[in-house]
């Protein structure tokens, strides 16, 4: 006797929930919502829904709440996010990563100590969405800002949230040295293989042959180098750290990603080490794909270049890495 409540105003019609539902209970409405999106609706009967919440976990727009039974809610919207609707394109998974980050901080009881740092890029407005203290930093500089904030207030839980242009290109030096110093901060790195906000230019993470507005004939690795694998680079440093790469394009990946992000913040909470989680994220708009095609592109094109998993753990107490 499960049920889902779909917020038809928040819904951008990306359709991820439709694909996720194991019982095919969600479909498009015939109407457009007030923002012009063809929103989704629950099409089954309450007894059809198991309350598994995969739809809500995959939703980038905090648009779904789920109950297994009327008295047992299986998916609750986190208090770590404001109620503001994001500006992200339909099917972009920034929203999933925002939600997971906020959920983790809430579950660890750290919202009141959190200081986040938004980058320059598509997530520049992250300070509008995270419901706690936030900086907005200059392009690429978030790890340095985080260093200053954390060193000055070690009791705060300081994290930088950065895209691939911000972190892997212009901010390459800042992330490298923050990691090498072993700053007790957390960095969440959104890798979508493209510059989003400026309209789809080549990033250091762009795949070989990938077409972008500044690699219109496909990325030529002889001329522009190979995709920069930041997690592998940082994992090669001698400084103890937690380095993991996850993905946000489907519910299964999102569940795993949440485990990584949770461990990252736990390491910071315990003062253990620098923690870094790379997230393979979708950019349907600049990839020129539908949200569902983008999901497949992460699986088929990104993951072979950027394998997911834990790349580095700090040494356990008294033991070796």
């Amino acid at each position: 006797m499960g049920s889902v409540a779909i917020d038809d105003v928040r819904c951008k019609g990306c359709g991820r929930c439709i694909v996720e539902c194991p019982r095919d209970l969600i479909g498009y409405s015939n109407e457009l919502n007030e923002r012009g999106y063809q929103y989704v609706v629950f099409k089954g009967e309450p007894e059809d829904c198991s309350g598994c919440a995969l739809c809500a976990i995959a939703c980038p727009d905090e648009g779904i709440e789920v109950w297994r039974r009327p008295d047992a809610q299986t998916f609750v919207t986190t208090t770590g996010l404001t109620e503001r609707m994001t500006h992200y394109c339909p099917g972009c998974t920034h929203g999933v990563v925002h939600r997971i980050t906020a959920e983790v901080l809430e579950e660890l009881g750290l919202l009141g100590r959190a200081v986040g740092i938004a980058p320059v890029g598509c997530s520049v407005l992250a300070y509008e969405y995270f419901a706690f203290d936030m900086f907005e930093a200059a392009h690429g500089r978030a790890p340095a800002v985080a260093t200053g904030a954390k060193r000055a207030r070690p009791e705060c839980i300081v994290f930088a949230y950065q895209g691939d242009g911000d972190l892997a290109s212009i901010g390459g030096n800042e992330i490298l040295h923050a990691a090498n110093r072993g700053e007790k901060i957390t960095v969440i790195f959104i890798n979508n293989a493209v510059y989003g906000m400026t309209g789809g230019q080549m990033a250091p993470t762009t795949l070989p042959g990938q077409v972008t507005t500044t690699s219109p004939f496909g990325r030529d690795v002889a001329d522009t180098g190979r995709p920069l694998r930041v997690s592998e680079l940082l994992a090669s440093l001698g400084t103890p750290a937690f380095i993991a790469r996850g993905a946000a394009h489907d519910s299964k990946s999102a569940i795993k990603l949440k485990q990584y992000i949770k461990r990252a913040f736990e390491y910071q909470r315990d003062g253990t080490c620098f923690s870094f989680v790379e997230v393979l994220s979708t950019c349907p708009t600049n990839w020129g794909l539908s949200p569902n095609e983008a999901t497949r592109w992460v699986e088929e094109s990104m993951k072979p270049c950027y394998p997911v998993g834990v790349l580095k753990e700090p040494p356990s107490e008294g033991g070796e890495t």
């Binding site: 009141g112 300070y127 203290d133 936030m134 900086f135 800002v145 260093t147 904030a149 060193r151 009791e155």
Partner: protein
């Protein structure tokens, strides 16, 4: 303020603040601690390196934080982070390094965060040289990064004044929630002079405020941000900044008038190291019976325009104004603005680390006065 600690000289036992012999860079660093600054982020560059070298040893003694950043770009952003969470913080650099900090300074000023920069100027442009110069006057006073923001700039001309202005710098930074730069040169930074610290021990932390990011437990969340996508909001933000800079321009100008202040036939305008050389020249000329005064701006921004104009207006009709600077015509911009066309301004400048001697300045003054 009561008496100082640091009983390192015999004077300590008398209760008077002890006189210490220190390099300018070290005095600046110690003064920052006396002002309550326990957080330093910086990158080595000549001729300011004694600042970090002093603080890396001294800060742990007072429970402070020292981070050697990977670049000036990172250092200024660490300052941004520390200032944003509400602690008194400092960075120090020299000319090319300040250029690299320009971006961060714009963000810090835009976000209205208090912090202090030390700039021990060296000769430019480009890599230039490591000897003293004043060729970053325009950079300091006219902006470094982009946008309508200003940094308050204080220019000491002795080691003692460097220490005193450091305390003022932190006071003004907090008062105006704005970056303040203590702008000296390699000469002030490197030379040793007696200095007395009137403040005792590590000074007080930053006052409680309603803007620092400390974690939102028990209060509304806060945002430190310089992005305003709506033009009306950004316009209003800039108007608020301007109101603040106007207030500083009204309340904060500081200057010194030196020499034949009762009546003079020539007024020199000069600051920092150059001004103290001018003072020696004036002493020499006074002995010769010439009537010469020095107008020395202590705040380069806000520049003491009204006081400078008053000092010019006190000249006789055929009196002269001579701008003397270790740069190629930067200070003179403000001297001309102060004169507002009322007088010709003669110029004497050097560059490249060439520091004029008192005799050279005196010779030029005699020439201007036709007393050669």
């Amino acid at each position: 303020m009561t008496t100082t600690t640091a009983p390192t000289t015999s004077e300590a036992s008398t209760g008077a603040p002890p006189k210490l012999l220190m390099k300018g860079n070290e005095a600046l660093a110690e003064a920052a601690i006396r002002a309550g600054c326990l957080h330093f982020f910086g990158y080595p560059i000549t001729p300011q390196t004694e600042v970090p070298e002093y603080l890396v040893k001294r800060l742990p003694e007072v429970g402070g934080v020292f981070v050697q950043a990977e670049s000036e770009v990172a250092a200024v952003n660490m300052v941004f982070g520390a200032a944003g969470v509400g602690v008194k913080c400092l960075t120090s650099s020299s000319s090319p390094g300040i250029s690299l900090m320009a971006e961060g300074m714009s963000y810090i000023a835009a976000c209205e965060l208090p912090c202090v920069f030390i700039n021990i100027m060296r000769a430019g442009p480009g890599l230039g040289g490591i000897l003293p110069a004043q060729s970053d006057y325009h950079q300091a006073t006219r902006g470094h990064g982009h946008g309508d923001y200003q940094v308050l700039v204080l220019a000491p001309s002795s080691v003692q004044e460097a220490a005193d202005l450091m305390l003022l710098a932190f006071e003004l930074a907090e008062k105006y929630r704005n970056p303040v730069m203590v702008c000296a040169d390699g000469m002030i930074g490197q030379m040793m002079e007696p200095v007395v610290f009137h403040a005792e021990g590590a000074g007080p932390p930053m006052a409680d405020n309603d803007w620092a990011l400390t974690g939102c437990e028990g209060r509304e969340r806060r945002i430190v941000n310089s992005l305003y996508l709506a033009p009306e909001e950004l316009h209003a933000h800039n108007l608020a900044l301007k109101e603040k800079y106007d207030r500083a321009a009204r309340d904060e100008p500081r200057w010194e008038l030196y020499g034949a202040t009762e009546g003079y036939d020539l007024l020199v305008v000069s600051f920092g190291t150059m001004a103290r050389i001018v003072k020696s020249a004036i002493d020499e000329l006074t002995d010769e019976g010439l009537r010469v005064a020095l107008f020395r701006p202590i705040t380069l921004n806000p520049f003491p325009y009204a006081a400078c104009r008053d000092a010019m207006d006190a000249l006789p009709r055929d009196g002269k104004v001579l701008d003397v600077e270790m740069s190629m015509g930067q200070l003179i911009t403000d001297v001309k603005l102060a004169a507002a066309g009322s007088r010709e301004i003669a110029f004497m400048g050097t560059a490249g680390g060439v520091v004029p001697t008192p005799d050279e300045v005196a010779a030029r003054i005699r020439e201007e006065l036709g007393a050669g």
